[in-house]
């Protein structure tokens, strides 16, 4: 039986009086591509940012790769590749410098893997970050998240800004890494991505999580989650 790579139990996080997430429990098994759906402000990013230790949680427990998210924060991040929804880097640096910096902090020489990724994603490593469009910054972010071949990928709305060809290549890469034993949590608004690539899925609404029986849901069911919130 496959182990849980992500184990979240009864996670609650609020921002003062504002709701973040309420009593979220979630398990993601090794080798899964897990779709994490939900409207804007539903709590997807709060859940992810709590997992990565950016936020101090109010209650609950998070274990990533069998380690405690608070105590083993550094060890967890060594084995995680995270791509935030907005890919921002130091403007004055060149793309190559950013990619090398991410590898240097990890104490790894990832030049071979980074080279392959840059070639496949057509990343111009000589350009400065400030010269890049959102889509190209996202590609740099993908390289930074993948070059160290982590055991767990966490992607927060990864395909926004990427052209269709790059989106296809991105999912090809995910499938290749997952085939080699990695796990992927994919936060997205795009139902077709979940339908096509995910093995399991959950949806967040107003800070609460609902597991879906199948990631292959139709548009109407999907939109009903959004409409109910508006109602």
């Amino acid at each position: 039986m496959k182990e849980n790579v992500i184990e979240i139990s009864h996670l609650t996080k609020s921002y003062g009086k504002n709701r973040g997430v309420i009593d979220v429990s979630l398990n993601v098994k090794e080798g899964d591509i897990f779709g994490f759906l939900g409207p804007n402000g539903a709590g997807k990013s709060t859940t992810i940012r709590s997992m990565l230790g950016f936020l101090k949680i109010n209650s609950g427990n998070i274990r990533i790769l069998g380690m405690d998210s608070v105590k083993d924060h550094e060890k967890i991040l060594k084995n995680v590749g995270y791509m935030p929804s907005e890919a921002w880097f130091y403007d004055s640096l060149k793309v190559a410098d950013v990619i090398k910096y991410a590898a240097d902090v990890r104490g790894l020489n990832c030049s071979e893997e980074a080279g392959k990724l840059c070639e496949r994603l057509k990343v111009d490593t000589h350009k400065k970050i400030k010269q890049l469009s959102l889509g190209n910054r996202k590609k740099v972010s993908i390289v930074c998240a993948m070059q160290h071949r982590p055991r767990l990928f966490i992607f927060d709305e990864p395909t926004g800004g990427l052209d269709p060809l790059m989106q296809k290549k991105f999912f090809e890469l995910i499938n290749e890494y997952v085939a080699q034993g990695a796990t992927c949590l994919l936060s997205t608004h795009v139902l077709s991505e979940v339908d096509k690539y995910c093995k399991n899925a959950a949806i967040m609404r107003e800070g609460r999580l609902t597991m879906l029986d199948t990631p292959h849901i139709d548009d109407e069911t999907f939109l009903s989650f959004y409409e109910e919130e508006e109602g």
């Binding site: 921002y15 990013s45 940012r49 990565l52 230790g53 950016f54 936020l55 101090k56 924060h73 550094e74 060890k75 967890i76 991040l77 060594k78 995680v80 995270y82 935030p84 907005e86 890919a87 921002w88 880097f89 130091y90 403007d91 004055s92 910096y101 991410a102 240097d104 902090v105 990890r106 972010s141 930074c144």
Partner: protein, 263 residues
């Protein structure tokens, strides 16, 4: 952590060059002007030393600006004090908050580093920047003395530069604590504080009732005219400075570790 420190140093290098070369070159030019003004200095020195509280505030009642020592203390001392204080404030007040302000935080925080390591690297960067700033300015001033060929008590000069460095570290400690509070750019606050500290010191030397509270401000123990007249070591001011520096850094670590990081 070494990679973060290296990156921070490189990111702040431009700032260091601009500020150290500007302040150092300005000091050098002022030193070189001494020779051309030497003839007129005597009359000016007499006039300046009899301006009551103003002379007191700028140390011209105890030091003659007709000598290089007095000229350096009253003119370059003020330029270096204010310039270095502003540099310390600018560097430290953004060093933590810039990550969240420029949205680079998610990239940095997703790397396998604890907040303590990130903050240690950033604090070390500030300290190194201030030491380098002081070293560059020191070289400029020494070059000036050497070109003039005038006698300068180097022990007092180095004491002055060392105390200025401590003052810079104290200001940086306060600003580091402020930088840990939120992820917003607070450059204006940093510069305002630098000017406020300077103004407090000047006012403290003019207003008799404020004099006994001078030790609270970071400029109190780094005053050039006091150092060059070999006044008593301002132990209280130095102890307060060390205390403020340590408290500022500890607060930054404590608060940064307990708060949520903005995206």
């Amino acid at each position: 952590m070494r990679a973060v420190l290296k990156r921070e140093l490189l990111l702040n290098l431009k700032n260091l060059l601009i500020w150290s070369l500007s302040v150092g070159a300005l000091g050098l030019v002022c030193i070189l002007l001494y020779k051309s003004m030497e003839g007129e200095m005597k009359d000016m020195a007499d006039a300046f030393s009899n301006m009551g509280a103003f002379s007191e505030a700028f140390g011209m009642s105890t030091l003659s600006i007709a000598t290089l020592k007095g000229y350096f203390a009253t003119e370059i001392g003020a330029v270096h004090g204010l310039g270095s204080c502003m540099f310390a404030a600018i560097i430290a007040i953004n060093i933590i908050s810039k990550e969240e302000d420029a949205h680079t935080g998610e990239f940095l925080f997703s790397l396998p580093l604890s907040r303590n390591r990130i903050l240690t690297a950033k604090s070390l960067c500030v300290a190194i920047m201030l030491v380098l700033f002081t070293a560059v300015c020191t070289l400029f001033y020494l070059l000036g003395f050497s070109i003039l060929g005038e006698e300068m008590p180097l022990d007092l000069f180095f004491t002055f530069m060392a105390r200025q460095l401590l003052m810079n570290l104290e200001v940086a400690g306060i600003c580091l604590a402020l930088s840990s509070l939120t992820g917003k750019n607070r450059m204006g606050l940093g510069l305002g504080m630098a000017l406020l500290f300077y103004a407090y010191d000047v006012m403290g030397r003019v207003i008799p009732d404020l004099k006994k509270y001078l030790f609270i401000g970071p400029f109190s123990y780094a005053n050039a005219s006091e150092i060059f007249t070999e006044a008593k070591l301002p132990v209280t001011g130095i102890v307060v400075a060390c205390g403020v520096l340590i408290c500022g850094v500890l607060f930054a670590f404590w608060f940064y570790n307990k708060r949520d990081l903005a995206s």
